[in-house]
Symmetry: C2
Subunit: 496 residues, 2 copies
C-alpha cells in the first residue's frame, strides 16, 4: 500500500472512530441517559459532529484525496474508496460552518418542539420550527445543487442516485397496482388475529426475541439488545452493533417483529468488513439497501410460513394460553392480517407503502411550495382519507406521528419503500440461487441465507451504490414487479 | 468577564466535554460493551485521551493561561482557577507524547496480563508487566520532580500536597493506636452476623439500594445505577453522574453498602457547580476528599444506629425470613462486625486501613528499590501475617487482588485511608454544627447533612486542596484523633 493511501485510510479510521464515539452518545441518549443530561448531551454530540467535520475537511486530508484521485497504482477497490470519499468531501465542503451550526441548533430546538407538540397533541407548537426546517431543506438543496428537482438533492443524501422522477414512477406502480390489490383484500373476509392480542409476559417476549436474533446469526458478542422508546439499530463498528426494541404486553407484534427488523439492520453492519473501518468499503451502501436487509428479515423471512414452521413451537410452548389451540396456519394468517390504520410503524406490509407514498407526496409539495406548513395537518388528513380511507382523529396520530421532520430529514421516508422493494427483488434471487432455502429456514437454519447476503450485499459496503448492487445481484435495476409478485403470491394464499 | 477569561473558560469547557465523552466510553466499557468491541473501545479511548491532551496543551491556550496568570482584574475564584490550570499544564507538558504513548500501551498490556494472572492465580504472568510499571512510575517521578522522596511525585497526582513523610506519620498512628485497639476487639466475644448471610433476592436488594440512594439525595434524574463487575461511580457532568453496583444473593453487604459508598461519591459530583464545568471549580478537590464523601456515607452514616433506625423497618419488611426475629441492635452489631480477612474491599472499617498500610509500605519499598517485583508475593504474604495475622492462601487472593497497579497507579491506595480519616473529622464537625443531625437521620431526613456537605465541601470544587478544605471546615489539619475517637466510641459500644 502506498504511503499516501495509508495516510488516507488512517485519517478515515480516525474519522470512523469519531463517528463511532458519536454513535455511543446517540445510543446512550435513547437508552440510558439520565433526563437532566439532555443539555450536556447536546453539547457533546455537537462537539463530536464538529470534530468529524473538521477532520474530514482538513486541508491536508483534501490534498491526499486529490492526489490519490489521479494515482494509477491503486487497486480498483482503493480507487472506488477514494472516489466516494472525494464525492463526500465535495458535498461537505459546500456547507459553511455557520450553516452547519444553524442546522444543528434548529434541529435540537425542532426536536424538543415536536416532542411537546406530539405529547400535547398541538401542531401549532411545532409549526414554526417545521417552517424553519422546510426553509433549511430548501436552502440545503440549493447549496448541494440538483439537475431537475430540489427534492433530488435531499434524496441523494440518503439514497445516492435516487430522484424525484424515479420515485414518481415507482409510486405510480404503488397507486396503480398495489392500491387496487390491497382494496381487493380488504373486501374479502378478514383473518382473525385475536391470538396476537392476549397477554404476553415481557420477559418471555424478550427471551424469544433473543432466541430469534441468535438464530438469524446476530452475534451477541458483537452487539446487544436493550429497550428504547423507539426501536433502532446502531453501529459503532462491526464488533459493536446494537439493537433496541420495545414491548407491549398486549400486542405481540411490537417486540417480536421489531426485533427481527432491527436484527436485519444489525446483520448488515456486523457483516461489513472491519479491516476497512472508516472507509466506504466498511459503510452501508444507502438507507434503501439498509432497509432492504431489515425488511427482508422482518417480512420476507419473518412473516413467512417456513420461518414459523421453525419457530412456532417455541411460541406455543412459551405462550400456551394464547397459542395452544391455534394452528400454525392460523398464526401465519394472523401475523399477516391487512388492516388500514393511522400509524406507519404499525402498518401491515402492504399498506405500509401508502403511508410512505403520502409522506413522499407531502415532501415534494412542501419543497415545491405547493402547500405551506400551516396547511399540512388538513392536507395530511385528506391524503389519509384518500389512500387509506381512514379518519385522522388527532394530529398526534397524524402529522405529528413521525420524528423524521424534526430531525430535518426530508427525503428519508422513501427509502423505507425502496428498501422493501429491493428486499423482494433480492429475496426472489436468493430463492432462485438456493433452491433449498425455504427447507433450511423451516429447520431454523439461517446461515445459508446470511452467507448469501454477506457475499452479495454486506461485504460490498459502499463500493457500489444501490442501483449497482441491485444490478450485480439480480441482473436488472429496481423492478417493482418483484414486490407485487411477492405480495400477490403470499396474500392470495392467505386470503384465498 | 474579560474576553480572555471567557476564551479560557470556553476552552476548558471543551476539554471538559472531551473528558465527559471519555467518561461515557469508560462507563459503557464496564457496564454494557459487547465482548468483541474491546479492541475498538481501546482505540476510541486512546483517541479521546489524546484529544484532551492536544486541547489542553495547545499553544494558544497556554498563551491565554500565561496572560491570565498576571491579570490583576480577575476575581479571587477566577485567579485560583487560572493558577490550578497552570499547575496542571506545567505537569502535563513535562510528559512527552512518546512517554504518554508508551504509558498507554504498557497499561493496556499490563491490565490484560494482570487479569489473566489473577484468573489463573499465577503471579509470574504479571511479573514482567509489573516490573515495567514500577520502572515507568520511577521514570514518571523523575519527570515530575519531587523534593524529598520519588513517591511524593506520585502521591501528588492523586492527593495534591500529600507526601511520603506525612503518610508515615499518619500510618504510625494506625500502627500505634488502631492496631492494638483492633486486636483488643478481636479478643472479645465476637458479634453474630449470620443474619447477613441468608438468601436475599437480587431484585429486592436492588430496590432497597435505589430507595437508600434516593433518601441520601442522589438525584436519579441526573444519574442512574447499573450492575458492573467492580462497583464504581463516574461523572460525565453534574447532570450525569452514574453509579454501579454488584449483587451477591448470599451476602447482603455486597450490594447495600457498596451502593451507599458509590452514592456518596456521586453526591459529591452532583454537588459540583455546573456553571463552571471544565474548570477546577467544577472538579473534585482530590481523591482523598472524594473518598471522604463515599466513606462518610457508607460508614459514619450508613453503618450508624441512627441510619438503621430509619431504614431497618424496610429491611425487615423486605426480608422477613432473615430479619423478622433480629433486633435493630443485633442488626447494627452484625453490620459492624470486625474480622480480619484477605480482601481489602471486604474488610471491616477498621482493618481496612491495615490493608492500605500494607500497600503503602510496599509501594514505598518498590519505589526505593528496597524490594524487587520478584520478591513481592512473599513480601505481601509476610505483611498480611504481620498486620492481620492471616495466611494468604493464593496470589489471586493476595498480591493480585487489586487492579490498581495494572493501571499504573502507584500512590493511589493511601487516598482510601486519608478519605476515611477526613470523613471522621468532617462528620465530627457536622455533628457539632447540627446538634439535631442524628435525630434527623433517624427519621430518614438526610437533606440537612447533604446541604452541609454541599456548602462546606462540594461547592468548593478544586478551588482549594484537601488540606485547605479540611482547615476551612474543621479549623485544623488532618488529625487522626477524630478517626480514632469515632472508632473507639462506636466499637466500645458494640463490643462492650
Amino acid at each position: 500500500m502506498s504511503e499516501q493511501y495509508k495516510a488516507f485510510s488512517e485519517q478515515l479510521r480516525k474519522i470512523g472512530l469519531i463517528g463511532s464515539i458519536g454513535g455511543l452518545l446517540a445510543w446512550d441518549n435513547e437508552v440510558y441517559k439520565p433526563e437532566k443530561a439532555t443539555e450536556i448531551r447536546g453539547e457533546q454530540t455537537a462537539f463530536v459532529s464538529g470534530l468529524a467535520h473538521e477532520y474530514f475537511t482538513a486541508p491536508e486530508f483534501e490534498k491526499i484525496v486529490l492526489a490519490l484521485l489521479n494515482d494509477k497504482s491503486l487497486s480498483e477497490e482503493q480507487s472506488i474508496n477514494v472516489q466516494k470519499v472525494h464525492e463526500d468531501l465535495v458535498k461537505q465542503k459546500k456547507f459553511s460552518k455557520a450553516f452547519i451550526q444553524k442546522q444543528s441548533l434548529l434541529v435540537s430546538e425542532a426536536f424538543a418542539k415536536w416532542h411537546t407538540a406530539k405529547t400535547e397533541n398541538n401542531f401549532l407548537l411545532f409549526e414554526n420550527s417545521l417552517e424553519k426546517i422546510v426553509a433549511l431543506c430548501k436552502e440545503s438543496a440549493e447549496i448541494l445543487g440538483y439537475e431537475v428537482h430540489p427534492y433530488d438533492a435531499l434524496l441523494d443524501l440518503y439514497e445516492p442516485g435516487m430522484t424525484t422522477q424515479k420515485l414518481k414512477v415507482i409510486f405510480a406502480n404503488v397507486k396503480e397496482q398495489l392500491v387496487p390489490y390491497y382494496n381487493s383484500l380488504l373486501a374479502k373476509q378478514q383473518v382473525d388475529d385475536a391470538c396476537l392480542h392476549g397477554t404476553f409476559d415481557q420477559q418471555k417476549q424478550w427471551d424469544i426475541s433473543i432466541a430469534l436474533l441468535r438464530q438469524m446469526g446476530y452475534d451477541m458478542a458483537a452487539g446487544r439488545q436493550d429497550y428504547a422508546p423507539h426501536p433502532f439499530s446502531i453501529s459503532m463498528h462491526p464488533t459493536d452493533v446494537r439493537v433496541t426494541t420495545r414491548c407491549d404486553e398486549h400486542n405481540l407484534s411490537e417486540l417480536i417483529w421489531s426485533a427481527i427488523h432491527e436484527g436485519g439492520h444489525a446483520l448488515y453492519e456486523q457483516g461489513l468488513d472491519a479491516a476497512y473501518f472508516g472507509q466506504p468499503q466498511c459503510s452501508a451502501a444507502s438507507l434503501g439497501i439498509h432497509e432492504s436487509q431489515s425488511r427482508l428479515w422482518e417480512n420476507n423471512v419473518g412473516r413467512s410460513l417456513s420461518y414459523w414452521k421453525a419457530n412456532y413451537p417455541l411460541m406455543q410452548k412459551t405462550f400456551p394460553e394464547s397459542f395452544a389451540n391455534v394452528s400454525l396456519n392460523d398464526f401465519y394468517k394472523a401475523i399477516n392480517k391487512v388492516e388500514p390504520g393511522l400509524i406507519r410503524t404499525n402498518a401491515d406490509e402492504i399498506s405500509y407503502h401508502l403511508h410512505v407514498l403520502i409522506r413522499f407526496e407531502i415532501e415534494v409539495a412542501l419543497m415545491e411550495g405547493e402547500i405551506s406548513v400551516k396547511e399540512l395537518p388538513a392536507y395530511w388528513n385528506s391524503k389519509y382519507k384518500e389512500y387509506l380511507a381512514v379518519d385522522v382523529l388527532s394530529d398526534a396520530l397524524g402529522v405529528l406521528q413521525d420524528v423524521h421532520w424534526s430531525h430535518g430529514s426530508l427525503g428519508y421516508f422513501p427509502t423505507y419503500s425502496i428498501g422493501s422493494f429491493y428486499a423482494a427483488q433480492f429475496y426472489s434471487h436468493a430463492e432462485k440461487n438456493m433452491p433449498q432455502l425455504s427447507e433450511k429456514i423451516e429447520k431454523g437454519e439461517m446461515s445459508e441465507l446470511l452467507d448469501w447476503l454477506r457475499t452479495n450485499i454486506h461485504r460490498k459496503g459502499r463500493l457500489y451504490n444501490s442501483e449497482e448492487i441491485c444490478a450485480q445481484v439480480t441482473g436488472e435495476k429496481l423492478n417493482f414487479d418483484y414486490f407485487m409478485n411477492y405480495v400477490k403470491k403470499k396474500y392470495d394464499g392467505i386470503y384465498g
